[in-house]
């Protein structure tokens, strides 16, 4: 993985000092909360319901075991013994005190990490295929380019105050696992007919209030030109993106208003001035960065038949959580952070420490965070799988549910987030409890269930095969259900099935959707494919045919939990309290 050189180290050290100074000026009231808010956001520090939340950047999801141990240290020392992995492959801590934030950043700097631009109206952490470098369908490893773009975007002086947040995603494989079509800029590393490497560039995709699939602005930008090209895109956006209405401020609205042809014309008119100029990436720089992403010291191994017919639990895990690898004798393993009863994406101090340990023992000391909110050990020997499974099980990270109904993508929602309309974590937990039978889950097969607590769509509910969105009706929480969304090569935006439901109705609604699916599916057809084949109506008709019972106990239990309150002294400068 990428290692900092003396320049990277110095820049991060200067950042820690700058932020320490900003925090002390806030605490002494030299900075008003309004002035400070935007500064702290550029450093991933949000004011949430109970405390500050600090979001730490995990560039393109890649972590060393030392970095994961640092998360464990932060969870233990500054938080409540857990962290939360997000859909942008980052990690966030929910119970941070403002005066501690500079120390946390200093701790992070010691392991080459930071929280720069993890929120705010700037270029955010660039996400990437979690199987980059090991996937069998990979054309080009996207990570060196992701790192080069990370450096370009870090403290870019022109683009710190964009109209709205700006997200990049990058993939180098045939199968898009990085959801590039729903990003402000999506990059696919491709080779042209001459075998030269370049990028297919999509622009103006996004979710939120107005979900849009990105449009292709250029089919092939040579790799040397990718910085200048994306810089022109962001420069046009910075000048012409709407700033009068935050709901219309994303680049997708500008691209729609101008039309992709006109937008492309403006971008390429700007690009004329910089194309081939000093920001053109050099072969030497690509070589330097690529050298950090060379393959680990794989052994020469044959593919193994590790399947143990008599161990059903292990077989289930192999089937769901173990992925193919480009090297014979190796596999990529997904450690599930979707155990029933736990908030999706949460990892405790013990789990973080253990994940680091497992990475050192089995996977060359590297861990990856996925946009599905799980962890990956990318380079495990097939002969080690059984031992790994045993250890992961002890830690509650071996739930064999990757890609299944309970591998729920879920945002923090009403329990933490000030922007929420409704709770999402308790709903995810309730669903996981109702559908806990592993045989049932395996029978239903692959299905993406995404739950967002509000319109910002942090859990990407529009591209869930089933999407659930929290809505607010006269101060009460309700949930809108959509079906037919999908991520990947064949992305689509889901369609709302009808009027919304109460918390206690949702499990029954899901059961009804699945009943229609099971009745209509052919062989091993996935839920999404059945929806595409038979259409939306049969699902809608069946769900609304008879009244759905509201399981008050289900929702009520959680309300009771919530009322316990938070034993935490609120920071006096909190604008909410």
């Amino acid at each position: 993985m990428y290692r900092y050189d003396q320049f990277d180290h110095q820049l991060i050290a200067e950042r820690v000092a700058q932020f320490r100074d900003q925090v002390s000026r806030r605490l002494s009231d030299e900075l008003t909360e309004d002035e400070f808010r935007i500064l702290r956001l550029q450093n991933g520090l949000y004011m949430q319901i109970h405390a500050y939340m600090l979001r730490i950047a995990v560039p393109y999801g890649l972590l060393s075991s030392a970095q994961v141990r640092m998360f464990a240290h932060i969870a233990k020392k500054y938080d409540r013994d857990y962290g939360h992995f997000t859909t942008r492959q980052n990690i966030q801590f929910n119970w941070i005190k403002l005066p501690d934030a500079p120390d946390i950043l200093a701790d992070l700097a010691s392991v080459e990490m930071h929280a720069i631009q993890t929120s705010g109206n700037c270029i955010r952490n660039i996400t990437c295929d979690e199987f980059a470098g090991v996937a069998r369908d990979e054309i080009v490893d996207p990570r060196p380019y992701a790192e080069i773009l990370r450096q370009w975007s870090t403290f870019h002086p022109e683009f710190a105050y964009l109209p709205r947040k700006f997200k990049f995603s990058i993939t180098g494989a045939l199968d898009d696992r990085a959801a590039i079509a729903v990003h402000d800029i999506g990059l696919a590393v491709v080779k042209n007919d001459q075998g030269e490497v370049g990028f297919r560039v999509l622009v103006g995709g996004g979710l939120g209030r107005t979900p849009v699939i990105g449009s292709e602005i250029c089919a092939f930008v040579p790799w040397q030109d990718v910085i200048t090209y994306v810089e022109s895109i962001v420069r046009v956006y910075n000048q012409y993106g709407r700033r009068d209405n935050m709901y219309k401020a994303r680049i997708k609205i500008l691209v729609k208003a101008l039309g992709i042809e006109e937008f492309k014309r403006q971008v390429e008119a700007d690009w004329l001035h910089t194309r081939g100029g000093p920001c053109t990436i050099t072969q030497a720089e690509l070589n330097r960065v690529s050298a950090c992403f060379t393959a680990p010291a794989y052994e020469d191994l044959p593919d193994e038949d590790v399947f143990q017919g008599d161990n059903k639990a292990f077989a289930n895990w192999l089937q769901r959580n173990v992925k193919s690898h480009k090297m014979p004798g190796y596999a990529a393993v997904v450690l599930s952070l979707k155990q029933t009863g736990i908030a999706p994406g949460d990892a405790t101090t013990a789990q973080l420490e253990a994940a680091a340990e497992l990475a050192d023992r089995f996977s060359f000391g590297e861990v990856r965070a996925t946009h599905m909110q799980n962890l990956v050990l990318a380079d495990v020997k097939q002969t080690d799988l059984f031992d790994l499974w045993l250890s992961a099980q002890e830690l509650g990270m071996a739930t064999p549910n990757i890609g299944l109904l309970t591998d729920i993508i879920c945002c923090p929602g009403g329990d933490f987030c000030t922007l929420a309309n409704a709770r999402s974590i308790p709903l995810a937990k309730a669903i996981a409890q109702c559908f806990d039978d592993i045989d049932f889950l395996h029978d239903i097969g692959e299905i993406d269930l995404n739950i967002s607590g509000g319109v910002n769509a942090c859990a990407h509910h529009h591209i869930g095969h089933i999407g659930i969105l929290g809505v607010d009706k006269d101060g009460e929480e309700w949930y809108q259900v959509s079906i037919g969304g999908a991520q990947g090569n064949n992305s689509s935006i889901g369609k709302v099935i009808g009027r919304s439901f109460s918390f206690g109705q949702i499990p029954e609604v899901l059961a009804r959707l699945l009943t229609v699916y099971v009745e209509h599916r052919y062989d091993d057809e996935r839920f999404i494919d059945t929806v595409r084949r038979i259409g939306f109506e049969p699902f809608k008709t069946y769900v609304y045919a008879t009244p759905v019972e509201n399981d008050k106990e289900l929702a009520g239990a959680d309300y009771a939990l919530l009322k316990v309150g938070v034993p935490y002294d609120m920071p006096y400068y909190s604008p909410r309290f």
């Binding site: 683009f159 105050y161 420069r235």
Partner: protein, 169 residues
Amino acid sequence: MIIKNKAIVADEWTVLRPDAEEAAENVLVAQGRVIVPMRVWQAQRDTLVQRAETGVWLASDDRPEDLQEDIQKFTVIAVDFPKFADGRGYSLAYLLRERLGFTGELRAIGDVLRDQLYYMQRVGFDSFALRSDKDMQAALKGLNDFSISYQASCDQSQPLFRRAQRGVL
């Protein structure tokens, strides 16, 4: 007082901010060193251009290209930041320097605060009219928040990977 070339100096200019309703051709421009809004410049160009020293300021939705033919006539060009979080001015400054080749004083006016000065100076600003309630002496520090930058911009014509020997761990 303003910050200019990293020092606090007397401000020799007045920024003219007429009412939005007042027709540009009717706005009275006092004698001496006045930085006029772009629309006033455009309406009164023929008389203003006679002056020994001229200044103009751009609102964040003004277009720098519209100054193309006059660009070298200005002693000072200012860019207004209506709110510090409105980042259009950064691209305007970059374009004035890089595309239009403006070499005179480029000044940030409006909601100009310490924590943005570093970025502003990178995109070509060399003078800053700090918001009046803020401490200029303290703000000077904001110009030196970082000694390293990855990208090329107006202060560095080359990105870090071309100007430094990278990769020493």
